[in-house]
């Protein structure tokens, strides 16, 4: 690394950012996945996907879910501060174990990666305690979370650039299954679209365009008013076309809170001579 790049990197690591939007994202992320894990535990969701005939959830999985719920409560409450960061890191580990042992979901991999980055952000405050308005914390975890989201949208957009997705057949399969297998009733226009491979292909192409545009915006122009409608649109369509309901809100929260306008006002650092 050249000395100029090394110096720029050192300055970036020392740079501060407002704590409030990161605290809000930590609360939202914790709350979304807390709801997920409570419902998952109550309805044996992951357990039944792991083994759909078994009467009871494996005790190991229940233990992991209870651990995740405890960690997520701490993330939402934001106190005691000394426990929040270890709890966030522990949540990443527990989710990775759940992924490895029980269900290899991209959602779980996303959770683990996001939580391990979030564990490095240390805003004070939470549900019952306001974040001091002038509090500042290291900026890099926020930047890494934004870049990680950009990478996810870029990679998933790139992976979708294949003959099956572009032909509309992937969406066709999913929407036909939701209608036939789960008895979903889409609105008239969406019903007609589900039956038409041409329409499915158009939606599929728009999906890729949306994801790649969002990735580029998050890297080059992470402005909330630009990225929020796009991320909400992508995941609202995704929820109804793919029956995935928690992954989307989590990424919407990540994009919304971490593109808070206050991040654009960077505070110059004194030179380190």
């Amino acid at each position: 690394m050249s000395s100029a790049a090394a110096e720029a990197f050192r300055r970036w690591v020392r740079e501060d950012a407002p704590a409030l939007p990161i605290a809000r994202f930590r609360m939202a992320f914790g709350a979304i996945w807390l709801a997920y894990d409570i419902l998952d535990l109550a309805y044996s969701g992951t357990a039944r996907i792991h083994d759909w005939i078994a009467a009871a959830a494996p005790s190991g999985l229940v233990g992991l879910q209870l651990g995740l719920i405890a960690c997520e409560i701490l993330m939402v409450v934001g106190a005691p501060l000394g426990l929040v960061m270890p709890a966030t890191a522990l949540a990443a580990v527990l989710r990775a174990v759940e992924w490895h042992e029980y269900l290899r979901l991209n959602d779980f991999a996303y959770f683990a990666v996001t939580a391990v980055i979030l564990a490095h952000a240390r805003p004070r405050g939470g549900l019952f305690r306001r974040v001091p308005p002038d509090e500042r914390i290291p900026r890099w975890p926020r930047d890494v979370l934004v870049l990680q989201a950009a990478w996810i949208y870029f990679a998933t957009g790139l992976m979708k650039m294949n003959s099956t997705w572009l032909s509309g057949r992937h969406l066709y399969v999913r929407m036909q299954y939701l209608r036939t297998g789960l008895g979903w009733h889409f609105p008239g226009v969406m019903n007609r679209c589900a039956d038409s491979l041409t329409c499915d292909a158009t939606l599929a192409t728009l999906g890729i365009a949306g994801e790649l545009t969002l990735a580029a915006l998050l890297v080059f122009r992470p402005r909330r008013w630009l990225v929020t409608p796009l991320v909400v649109g992508i995941h609202t369509f995704g929820a109804f076309a793919t029956n995935v309901w928690f992954f989307g809100p989590s990424l919407i929260a990540q994009v919304f809170f971490l593109t808070d306008p206050t991040f654009a006002r960077r505070k110059p650092l004194p030179r380190e001579d």
Partner: protein, 131 residues
């Protein structure tokens, strides 16, 4: 995290911890044959391949319903929830195995029906009697 999060070496190491596995996963997709505008990717951890692989889906039903550990199960979907947690497979063969496995919990002469939608864009129906 304390002062570690101000240490450039630690942060650089942490970034490598994030970048290396995700970069390796993307490279793995290319090694497995994925090409832009060509072959679909496969499931590779951390390559963010969600909704991009070639999948088929089947609605699996048993008539009369199975007695699965005390629960009546008329459809594979009945073991999951209406939203989010739905037991699914990606290949018709896996659904066939699930339907046959379910027969173990069925009464004699139980009929299994699979209504499948394949990534070739076809709808296929398969009916068999449990042995």
């Amino acid at each position: 995290m304390g002062p570690l999060d101000r240490n450039p070496l630690y942060v650089a190491g942490f970034l490598l911890f994030l970048i290396v596995p995700q970069g390796h996963a993307l490279a793995q997709q290319f090694r497995l044959g994925y090409r832009p505008f060509g072959q679909a990717p496969q499931r590779v951890t951390l390559s963010w391949d969600m909704f991009s692989t070639a999948i088929s889906r089947c609605d699996v039903r048993w008539d009369p319903p199975l007695n699965a550990e005390g629960r009546p199960l008329a459809r594979l979907h009945d073991s999951g929830t209406a939203l989010e947690w739905d037991p699914v497979y990606d290949r018709v063969e896996d659904y066939m195995h699930a339907a046959e496995y379910g027969c173990v919990y069925g009464r004699p002469h139980t009929t299994a029906t699979l209504q499948c939608f394949t990534f070739e864009g076809e709808a296929v129906k398969n009916v068999f009697r449990c042995r």
